[in-house]
């Protein structure tokens, strides 16, 4: 190690061929000095730029299992690795505009309740995550509830879990809220994603108000969220009940491009999106036992639904044209 040149930290590898040459020179001088290739390489690693060393370190940590993965299966490294793809969709493809992001609690539990749309792949959860992560002064990873069926599929289930999805259900929602997480729910469920294009932005029934029960029991504030733009990404003009029965799916949508164009039909249309986070609804005046009060639960559920419906209409007017 006689001729080590001064390093320039922070340079990237492709832009700095000198660093590669320096690294290889060090390896060669190490081997000529009588070291075996492995120790020569590990000695020479200091000649590599910091960013590359960090990247190698990250890959090695992953390979050796030394990474964080919480008990729900959320894997922050993985979520950060797929972040750029969703950032592209968020900034360029759908040009998402966000209002009221400060209504999302910066710490502690919170239940984000939103309208649900996008027949083939609902992207609303991922775009809401992007909104919280990019616009909020104190970003945090929200968790989201996913249709049960998706969790029995290979690949998709693992992907969903690693980015923070859990199978939809009151147990999982309450358990997450009890650990002070931010949870996103879509009470319309399949009725929301599976509605025809002609019914767009008309909110469906909010299940049986299960999300209100969970919020009351765990004493979490509800933040209604209105999402506009998600309805146009895969306009559902028909569906195929026979195919849905055959594969066990809740529905199989037919859009102008799917399945006509094959895999190309999976590319979502570039609609313009708006997301509004509304004033939180504080439920702390009610005791946890109020979760059994049907009337109260349905009342609050309806209030949340009306808030979201109203805000959806407001944002539709403000957005103007759907695509330009």
């Amino acid at each position: 190690m006689s001729s080590r040149e001064p390093e320039t930290p922070g340079t990237t590898f492709p832009g700095d061929p000198d660093a590669l040459a320096r690294f290889l020179r060090e390896v060669r001088s190490g081997i000529e000095g009588g070291l075996d290739p492995v120790s020569a390489t590990s000695d020479a690693i200091g000649a590599l730029p910091d960013t590359l060393r960090d990247a190698i370190d990250l890959i090695l940590r992953r390979l050796r299992g030394e990474y964080s993965e919480d008990e729900w299966g959320f894997d922050e490294d993985f979520a950060e690795a797929v972040f750029p793809l969703f950032r592209f969709l968020y900034e360029v493809w759908w040009r998402v505009e966000v209002t009221g992001v400060r209504n999302v609690p910066a710490h502690g539990r919170g239940l984000l309740v939103a309208n649900h749309a996008g027949s083939l792949f609902p992207f609303d959860a991922s775009m809401m995550t992007m909104a919280v992560m990019r616009e909020h002064p104190l970003p945090r990873w929200p968790r989201f509830m996913v249709l049960d069926w998706a969790f029995s599929l290979p690949f998709l289930s693992v992907f969903m879990r690693r980015v923070g999805g859990v199978p939809a259900g009151p147990h999982n929602a309450s358990a997450l809220l009890e650990r002070d997480e931010l949870v996103m729910v879509f009470p319309e469920g399949v009725k929301g994603t599976g509605k025809a294009f002609s019914d767009r932005y008309r909110l469906q029934r909010f299940g049986r108000g299960g999300f209100v029960e969970v919020a009351l029991r765990t004493r979490s504030p509800i933040v209604p969220v209105a999402v506009v733009g998600s309805e146009e990404i895969y306009p559902k003009i028909a569906d195929s009940p026979a195919l849905a029965r055959a594969i066990g799916a809740p529905f199989v949508p037919i859009t102008p491009t799917f399945p006509l164009l094959g895999p190309l039909g999976l590319i979502p249309l570039p609609s313009k999106w708006r997301i509004e986070f509304c004033e939180p609804i504080d439920l702390s005046e009610h005791p946890p036992e109020a979760a059994e009060d049907r009337g109260l639960v349905l009342d609050i559920s309806e209030r949340v639904r009306e808030t979201i419906q109203g805000k959806v209409y407001e944002n539709l007017v403000e957005r103007g044209s759907a695509f330009i």
């Binding site: 190698i56 050796r64 299992g65 008990e71 147990h171 358990a175």
Partner: protein
């Protein structure tokens, strides 16, 4: 109940869990008398244990048990997988009929005050869309898909009936997650120590594997605690199979899931690891998590290792046993960069 002068009977004492518990209880001064029941002699001599050769599946147990005048019965005779002398086709007999006969014998033992059943968390099943942490009241909420699951459900319902009929007897079911340990000869441990581990393509189950030392300690805690009803026995947290294999430096081969069970069987036959039985195939596709809060608060038992710690300990022990260099890229790349051992 007064804890001094306890008289305890353990079924399945020739198996791993029965004999481990007997070893621990024999050292305890509060135990006045210890009986071990099984069809065959334990592999090692159990000092301080009165061995009774009897088959829990036969009516003879009803004649033998009252004579021992025990106040506690610990039923460790429930088998997750075949053991020497207990082939796969008789698991149902051991698990269901054995429990039924044992409960009949318990009815005839007037001195009895406590029964502990070493059951299984398999009763919850393994489903993609299951709650991520099952609590005790969620048993049988998911469809009972495997033979083993149905057996566990059936024997638990007999046990529930018994505890309702005899309220003066404290009945406790421990629902165990699968155990691992370097000293444990179980199909899942053999699977994890294969040089190349087959996994199911596109699936990465969340698992809770319990350290074998903690498993025995929990059983011992249940002997001394008057807790009633079902208690999940599991480590805190959960870990995905992919991370387990990386921590254990095992390369994996993804196999489409319909071909997984036959592949493991053939690979296992060649390498001496045996096949996966019971609901292990479903467990390695969908995983299962249980809530262990009741174990920690009511049973008062805190496991030594969490889900990640148990795997790390197994990995360290498997690594020291290895004679050939690891084929996992994490080991040689780590060495190359001088970052790891």
């Amino acid at each position: 109940m007064d804890d001094a002068g306890r008289r305890i009977a353990i079924t399945g004492v020739a198996g791993h869990w029965g004999s481990e518990l007997a070893k621990r209880l024999a050292r305890d001064s509060r135990v006045e008398y210890l009986a071990g029941i099984d069809t065959r002699q334990p592999a090692v001599e159990l000092a301080g244990t009165d061995f009774i050769e009897a088959d829990v599946r036969s009516a003879a147990i009803s004649r033998l048990l009252p004579g021992t005048e025990v106040d506690t019965v610990v039923h460790c005779g429930i088998l997750w997988y075949p053991e020497p002398g207990k082939p796969a086709r008789s698991l149902h007999d051991y698990n269901v009929i054995g429990t039924l006969q044992l409960l009949a014998a318990c009815e005839r033992t007037p001195t009895l005050r406590r029964v502990v059943l070493r059951g299984s968390a398999a009763i919850y099943g393994c489903e993609g869309a299951a709650p991520l942490f099952f609590t005790e009241e969620m048993a049988r909420r998911m469809p009972l898909r495997t033979r083993f699951q149905r057996d566990v459900s059936e024997l638990e319902s007999y046990f529930d009936q018994f505890s309702r009929r005899r309220p003066e007897i404290a009945c406790c079911t421990l629902r165990y997650q699968p155990e691992i340990g370097a000293d444990l000869d179980a199909p899942l441990v053999r699977y994890l120590s294969l040089p190349v581990v087959p996994t199911q393509l596109g699936f990465d189950p969340r698992l809770q594997l319990l350290d074998s030392g903690d498993a025995t300690a929990a059983l011992e805690a249940a002997v001394w605690s008057p807790v009633r009803g079902a208690v999940n026995v599991a480590p805190s947290g959960a870990i995905s199979l992919s991370r387990i294999l990386r921590l254990a430096r095992r390369p994996s081969v993804p196999i489409p899931h319909p071909m997984f069970a036959p592949a493991v069987e053939r690979l296992g036959a060649r390498l001496g690891a045996g096949a996966l039985v019971g609901d292990a195939t479903r467990l390695l596709r969908f995983g299962r998590g249980v809530d262990n809060r009741r174990m920690r608060s009511e049973l008062g038992f805190e496991p030594r290792l969490d889900a990640v710690g148990a795997v790390r300990e197994l990995a360290a022990k498997l690594e020291s046993r290895r004679v050939v260099p690891s084929p996992h890229p994490g080991s040689w790349l780590g060495r190359l960069a001088g970052l790891g051992p």
